[in-house]
Symmetry: C2
Subunit: 200 residues, 2 copies
DNA sequence: CAAGATACCAAACAATTGTTCGGTAGTCAA
DNA sequence: TTGACTACCGAACAATTGTTTGGTATCTTG
């Protein structure tokens, strides 16, 4: 991806912020108005340059941001950070960290806030968000979110022992919950696939 | 926010997915084509309904998604999940979990993959991504990412003890690293503000 | 100094846009 | 049964859209 001139950067930034705030690609004349360009031909020329350099993509006569420049991308993952330099200047990015790109495969994921510290040895603390892939079945040993009776959702490791299902915590001061599949009903909400925590 | 008819939901979903994939609000005739509506007046009528019910917002003659329905680039946070129901049908959403909205305040955040288990008692495991707000200073007791000499980045708790700075792990089998600010230079990359883990 | 890229202009064009009008038809509650 | 809502149609309209043509002017680079 070739580098942009100052003007082209300005215009690209305007387009990105415009999309972020209005979900619309600004029209040529909107862009022109913003930069006091009286001719839409000037804008056209700038946008052509942005397409040529790979920052915009054109399908038919519809312009859109190229995938790498999409807004709401998440946080850049860096291998090594040069202390003192603004991270915008850092080159060794390894991609972007985004809840979506990490966990999304369909509209079948959700997040639940964790209550209590019964999973603290698994590195899941009170207040953490657990990302759950919705599914009704799970295999023994998998970490799931489930309901027992009418109670709150619980995050636990599931163990199948014949007719008995055990929901195993990861905290030595908690005991496993034993469920007799004949009497109580275990309703699995999904499998834990990720964790997001806000520190402090 | 009033509830939508089936048709209106379909159309709203199309608009959302269209924005997600192209960053463009589809034109009336594009929507019409998708649903085999030969008259743009029909589309206009549906969109009017979506505006009336608060799902779309109109400024001038420009339509956009209302804030609550903005691009679902993130995972819905739910309070309680009705097992068995598709989560798209779940009403009790409490918002969306997104790395951006959780941590973003400027272009000053990045993510680093954690190496080793020196912070495992703080619930930070090998392979986790730590979200870091870039800053060069930190207060005693804060969790930071730092470099000592030319070594790899480390995640540690910083403790100031006079001229000595201690980088304290959270794992009883590791020892604190003592840094004499006169000899060695401690380069702080930033403060840890979040954590993202991919389970399994 | 010529060539190429950049940054702008005015004017004009056909196509597409959102909108409006008047109409049909089904459902559902008052 | 009457009104309100929903779901569609075709036709027409003015405004806006992206594009093109033919210009001027500056800067950089071989």
């Amino acid at each position: 991806m070739r580098s942009l001139t100052e003007r082209q950067r300005e215009i690209l930034n305007y387009i990105i912020s415009s999309i972020k705030s209005t979900d619309r690609f600004p029209s040529y004349r909107e862009i022109g108005r913003r930069f006091r360009l009286s001719s839409s031909a000037t804008v056209s020329q700038h946008l052509d340059a942005l397409v040529r350099k790979g920052f915009l993509t054109k399908i038919g006569n519809k312009l859109m941001l190229s995938r790498e420049n999409r807004p709401i991308r998440g946080v850049p993952i860096v291998g090594r950070v040069a202390a003192g330099l603004p991270i915008t200047a850092i080159e060794n990015r390894e991609g972007y960290l985004n809840v979506d790109s990490l966990f999304y495969d369909d509209a079948t994921h959700f997040a639940v806030k964790v209550n209590g510290d019964s999973m603290k040895d698994a590195g899941i603390f009170d207040g953490d968000y657990v990302i759950v892939r919705q599914q009704e079945e799970a295999r023994s040993g998998e970490m799931i979110v489930a309901y027992i009776g009418d109670e709150e959702a619980t995050v636990k490791i599931m163990r199948k022992r014949g007719r008995i299902v055990e929901l195993e915590p990861r905290n030595t001061s908690y005991k496993s919950i034993r469920i007799n599949s004949k009497r109580d009903r275990l309703r699995i909400a999904g499998k834990v696939v990720g964790l997001v925590r806000r520190v402090r």
